[in-house]
């Protein structure tokens, strides 16, 4: 038999699959993780050695205002995003065939379209003499403030986040056994009661992941706020861009990037703890 040759080939040390496995992690370590170290180095060496960039960030009144505004904008956008996304996820998963398909299309068309195009759509609607003010004028609400302000930014961010927030919620909802709901109905619970007492608690894990995801995404986001805020509603991520490319303040930009990263990991860590506690309580 041909294959009875007895060269000791060790499968478990097959170099081929070892190389395949490690190629990507090695490349990412070199091209992504190491540069972070470089950025961190920048943040304490530019313009000179020391922690003055961080001191500036945490004590400067201007930065505190930016952080406060960022937190506020992110919280408000998340708070608006979650109910909208929950509603859409619910109708996508539970709705009748036609309704579910319509909702799906409404979610996925914006999902796949460039964030710039979507922001542009809102510019068209919200700018000073745009569609919204035309409509407002037609209804005699001339004084309605539109244009580059914090609500434009929030509108754009919510629009960006909703499709993302739908996905984790829908995936949890899809795992809910409909027979559980029928059982509750059979036990005499009214449909609205079934929703509040059975469906909502069972879908909460999806809501938590959507919450964490939305908040994290909105923290690091700068394209939409820059276009819709137009320099008047400056958030943290935008400040990084401004510090690096408009005031050429590399060290400060790098330090802000590091602070953002730490904030995101802190939120992730926290949300995982919350979820674990939530799971413990539901046992």
């Amino acid at each position: 038999m041909m294959r009875a040759q007895s060269t000791p080939v060790r499968r478990y040390a097959a170099t081929g699959s070892l190389a395949m496995l490690w190629a990507l992690p090695v490349i990412l370590t070199l091209a992504y993780v190491l540069p972070f170290a470089g950025v961190t180095l920048w943040s304490v060496t530019r313009p000179e050695l020391g922690l003055q960039n961080y001191v500036r960030i945490f004590t400067g009144a201007d930065f505190q205002a930016i952080f406060f505004r960022t937190a506020w904008v992110c919280l408000v956008s998340t708070a608006i995003t979650i109910p909208i996304a929950y509603l859409l996820a619910y109708y996508w998963v539970m709705g009748s065939g036609r309704r579910s398909r319509l909702v799906e299309i409404c979610i996925f068309i914006p999902f796949w379209i460039s964030v710039l195009v979507r922001a542009f759509g809102w510019v068209v609607i919200l700018r000073n003499n745009g569609l919204a003010s035309d409509v407002a004028n037609a209804f005699g609400l001339g004084g309605l403030s539109t244009g580059r302000n914090v609500w434009s930014v929030i509108t754009g961010m919510v629009h960006f986040m909703v499709p993302f927030a739908v996905l984790p919620m829908a995936s949890v909802m899809r795992k809910i056994d409909r027979r559980v709901l029928l059982a509750a109905l059979g036990l005499g619970c009214r449909p609205l009661g079934v929703f509040w007492r059975i469906y909502l608690p069972m879908s909460l894990p999806g809501v938590f992941s959507a919450l964490a995801m939305t908040f994290i995404f909105s923290l690091g986001f700068f394209v939409t706020p820059m276009i819709l805020g137009g320099g008047r509603v400056v958030l943290t991520a935008e400040t990084v861009f401004v510090q690096m490319f408009q005031t050429a303040n590399w060290g400060l930009g790098a330090a802000l990037g590091v602070v953002l990263l730490v904030a995101v990991f802190a939120i992730l860590w926290l949300s995982q703890r919350v979820m674990r506690i939530e799971q413990l309580m539901s046992r």
């Binding site: 799906e104 299309i105 379209i113 964030v115 710039l116 068209v124 994290i216 690091g220 986001f221």
Partner: protein, 254 residues
């Protein structure tokens, strides 16, 4: 029985309209006859669609974006496939850690990733070059490809590989003849997602290129920041229509 409440249905419909609103709103603006962004008042024109074909500006950027997206999506898919198959075959103890590592670019705020990639490209002299941009895009889009491929592999029967080995195939042969053909849809999905993500990538792109290499998102960005050229509306309409078409076609297939 469920999902039939009137109020809920109305609110869901309103939410759906909210999602589509800005996309629809763009359409009339693309047909204005004026040089600046405005509603066409009685006069319609295709001049802004024609402007897209200017080889020095829009068309050049479309070409650059296409080139970068094709290169980076193919590279990202290949790396993700190798990584995913490596994990699937070897099931290393460090698997969770490695997957966490390669998914990092999704979790890290894009602006922080942008600063890191800017730093890297500045060190190796690839700022504002096509190779530099491709490298950055690969880093940013590879997690999406990895997710698609790991998903496809998780549905694959482990015994398929053993059966192939058992019938005399080497590990490489079994990867090429058995594993890859069986995750072909996952590979396609990974490639397609990467392609779209790279084509639309704006945050990192704005940091690491923009003078010599101008992608389509960068050009749209400049226009939005500076003068609101109605050509942006025209190109948006084309992108919206293309996306809608692809989604509707895929829906009708299933």
């Amino acid at each position: 029985m469920f999902g039939k409440s009137r109020l809920g249905g109305f609110l869901a419909g309103a939410s759906g309209l909210f999602l589509l609103l800005p996309l629809v709103a763009v359409i009339p603006f693309s047909f204005t006859a004026k040089r600046f962004l405005s509603m066409p008042d009685g006069e319609y024109s295709l001049r802004h669609y024609v402007a897209i074909f200017d080889p020095d500006t829009w068309l050049a950027s479309i070409g650059t974006s296409t080139l970068v997206a094709l290169l980076s999506s193919v590279i990202a898919t290949a790396l993700a496939a190798a990584f995913g198959i490596g994990i699937w075959l070897r099931r290393p103890a460090s698997g969770r850690f490695l997957i966490g590592l390669v998914l990092l670019p999704i979790i890290v705020p894009p602006v922080t990733s942008a600063v890191a990639l800017y730093f890297l490209l500045a060190q190796i002299g690839l700022l504002d070059t096509v190779p530099g941009l491709v490298l950055s895009h690969v880093v940013m889009i590879v997690p999406f490809a990895v997710i698609a491929i790991l998903g496809a592999l998780s549905r694959l029967d482990r015994n398929l590989e053993l059966a192939a080995r058992n019938l005399g195939a080497s590990q490489m042969q079994s990867i090429i003849m058995v594993i890859l053909p069986n995750i072909r849809f996952g590979l396609f999905a990974a490639w397609f997602v990467s392609l779209v993500m790279s084509w639309e990538e704006s945050s990192v792109t704005l940091f690491v290129s923009g003078v010599n290499v101008i992608t389509l998102p960068k050009r749209i960005w400049d226009n939005l920041r500076l003068d609101l050229d109605p050509a942006v509306a025209a190109i948006s309409v084309i992108m919206i229509l293309a996306t809608t078409l692809v989604i509707l076609l895929r829906k009708s297939e299933t």
